[in-house]
């Protein structure tokens, strides 16, 4: 019977192929949506670990989280250096990583920080940053680049780079008087760190020496030597990542920072802010999931309609089968086998398509958002989805099969006999 079903399908390959393709695309869609959902969460969760508090100018918790850690969006305001020093001096606080954002190089963000970043920043399962090549920045004009920056721009140690003001891909003005030198390249982390260019806080100040109120001061510009001699202590930073000596003090410290008198500040717990983000995103996720389920249903309805529409043209085929001894039950089985073959074919093709989409899409997601979406074997959720599609396909197949069964009962052996 399977042989007959297979050959019959091959005989009608254009419609069969289209029906299978519709299922394949719906399967690929639902798998990809599920994968992006899960990997995006993973990727976000992996990006920040071991940080107890994130401090920034007062805005929304999600916004602070997004711009400070994921480099999505921009800060509304800065934290003055006086506040940074005051917070760092608090007893409960173990370490503070200052982060200064706002500049870019060839579409990659420039992050001003200090050595504490390499010391204390953690990602994934509390992993520390490691150098693939070179070392930390020591000079004002040293820069440490993420693996993705090095890969995409082809930079090597010792290379001169010019940093632009603003964070757009095409910067309006470049700080070309103050070229930086690559001093180190970080090992890949699968986080936005891969897409950052790290310089010292002094470096950030240095590149703005000739700038007043956001415009380039006319003239030759200041030489690097002259800049080195200047006072380059930072006046403000964008955010702080804070580590506490004991996690037990986290709420007290948060409250203290939130009530800080000198300037309006906001301290957030990354985990709590992430949860807030997820609850925001979950509506969209749910909508996407529902849409993908609908697409799968549409694919199966299409399968059903193809099989049903085919039944009329295949009355002769059924009659011949009946005349050589196929019972109506055989005809039923034949149609069920056909729909199963089509569904299984669709699932396999959908998996292949999903992997192609993931392979292409992961490059884009990495380049654009620093999200890592690796190719992985189907996990239990995916297997459950595939199983449900297979079962739904089987059920969808029984309707045309029942129809064929009834027809073959009433049609008898032939249009003639």
């Amino acid at each position: 019977m399977i042989g007959i079903a297979w050959k019959s399908l091959c005989n009608r390959w254009p419609t069969a192929l289209l029906a299978m393709l519709a299922i394949a695309m719906s399967v690929a869609l639902i798998l990809s949506v599920e994968k992006v959902r899960r990997d995006a969460r993973n990727s976000f969760t992996q990006t920040v670990s071991g940080t107890d508090l994130i401090v920034g100018a007062r805005s929304g918790a999600v916004q602070l989280l997004l711009y400070s850690v994921f480099r999505i969006g921009n800060a509304t305001n800065n934290i003055s250096w006086e506040s940074v020093e005051e917070i760092s001096a608090r007893n409960a606080i173990d370490w503070v990583i200052p982060i200064s954002l706002g500049d870019s190089h060839a579409g990659f963000r420039v992050l001003g920080t200090n050595h504490d970043y390499f010391e204390h920043y953690r990602f994934g399962e509390k992993r520390t940053l490691t150098f693939a090549e070179g070392e930390r920045f020591d000079d004002v004009f040293d820069a440490v680049i993420g693996s993705e920056v090095a890969k995409q721009l082809g930079y090597t140690i010792g290379q001169d780079i010019v940093v632009a003001h603003g964070t757009g891909n095409v910067a309006l003005v470049e700080h070309e008087k103050q070229p930086f030198k690559v001093s180190g390249i970080l090992a890949p982390t699968g986080t936005p760190v891969d897409r950052a260019i790290h310089v010292s806080l002094q470096g950030i100040e240095a590149m703005h020496v000739d700038w007043r109120n956001g415009a380039n001061v006319k003239g030759e510009g200041t030489s690097a030597e002259a800049i080195r001699a200047m006072d380059l202590n930072p006046k403000a930073v964008t955010a702080l990542l804070v580590g506490l000596k004991s996690r037990g003090t986290v709420f007290r410290e948060q409250r203290t920072i939130n009530n800080y008198r000198a300037e309006p500040l906001l301290a957030i717990l990354p985990g709590v802010a992430l949860q807030e983000l997820w609850s925001l995103v979950s509506v969209a996720e749910m909508a996407l999931l529902i849409v993908s389920i609908m697409v799968v249903v549409a694919g199966l309805v299409n399968l059903m309609s193809v099989l049903l529409a085919g039944l009329n043209e295949r009355r002769r085929e059924m009659a011949v089968l009946r005349s050589v001894g196929a019972r109506p039950a055989h005809v039923f089985l034949l149609l069920c086998i056909e729909s199963t073959l089509l569904t299984l074919g669709g699932i396999v093709a959908g998996l292949v398509l999903h992997y192609i989409i993931t392979a292409i899409g992961s490059v884009f997601l990495m380049e654009r958002f620093g999200l890592s979406v690796p190719l992985t074997l189907p996990q239990s959720t995916e297997l459950k989805i595939l199983l449900s599609v297979a079962i739904a396909g089987l059920v969808a197949g029984t309707i045309p099969a029942l129809q064929a069964y009834r027809k073959s009962l009433s049609d008898g052996l032939s249009q003639k006999l």
């Binding site: 005989n11 011949v320 001894g325 032939s414 006999l417």
Partner: protein, 242 residues
């Protein structure tokens, strides 16, 4: 009465209507075919010959009377049993579209053996494999097995297709062969040749042939000729209208 004397087809007092409230289209007092007979059943369209064939082939059951094939009253069989009984005992050839276009010639010929173990057994009991018997039947039908065996049936001429259909009806020697207008899609030259092949093979298989046609010119080569008008007590509907 020994088994051979018993008629292969036996209809008694049958009456058939498409619906309880409709007047019957067939009412036959007696219709019998003896074993080995070649019978020509003539009837114009609308005379109910298709209905009669459906009754004999156990597709339809009469409201009254009994139909027995090979001594087995059909009404006693459940539907799935009737299907099995049909394929075990009958080979069918239609006017056209006998073959599944997506199967090769060999697969088409052997189709009924997939569904009827007893027909398959009859082939193997003679010490032949299914393929050998297929080759033999195709050659007997003046088809070159080597040439056409694995061809898709769509590449065959109508005449060749009909001969393949006969080979399929004959495989496993079913006692009854029903041919419903098998020659009407053939031109008159090939009709007689087709009949000759059909006869000689049915002869050697020892089967009974019920051949249905409206073309009275073919009747002369048959043992017996029955006009449905003569045995059906219901007046010809098309005749009534004219």
């Amino acid at each position: 009465m020994n088994a051979n004397a018993q008629p292969i087809v036996q209809l008694r007092d049958i009456q058939f209507a498409w619906h309880r409230n409709l007047s019957p289209v067939l009412s036959i007092e007696q219709f019998e075919l003896s074993r080995g007979e070649h019978v020509f059943l003539q009837g114009s369209s609308g005379s109910g010959k298709t209905t009669l064939l459906n009754l004999i082939a156990a597709v339809l059951l009469p409201q009254k009377g009994s139909v027995a094939i090979d001594g087995q009253p059909l009404a006693e069989l459940r539907r799935s049993k009737r299907d099995q009984f049909r394929v075990d005992h009958m080979g069918l050839v239609f006017q056209q579209f006998n073959l599944l276009p997506f199967l090769s010639v060999v697969e088409n010929v052997q189709l009924s053996c997939r569904f009827s173990p007893s027909r398959k057994r009859r082939v193997t009991q003679e010490g032949l494999t299914l393929d050998q018997e297929t080759d033999r039947l195709l050659s007997a039908m003046k088809l070159d097995p080597k040439e056409i065996k694995h061809k898709p049936t769509s590449e065959l001429s109508v005449g060749q297709q009909q001969r393949v259909a006969v080979a399929r009806a004959l495989i496993g020697r079913p006692p009854l062969i029903i041919a419903d207008e098998p020659t009407s899609s053939l031109d008159s030259d090939s009709r007689q040749a087709f009949l000759d092949l059909l006869f000689s093979e049915i002869e050697s298989a020892g089967s009974t042939l019920l051949f249905v046609s409206h073309d009275a010119a073919l009747a002369s080569s048959f043992d017996r000729r029955i006009d449905l008008k003569d045995i059906n007590r219901v007046a010809d509907l098309s005749g009534d209208l004219s």
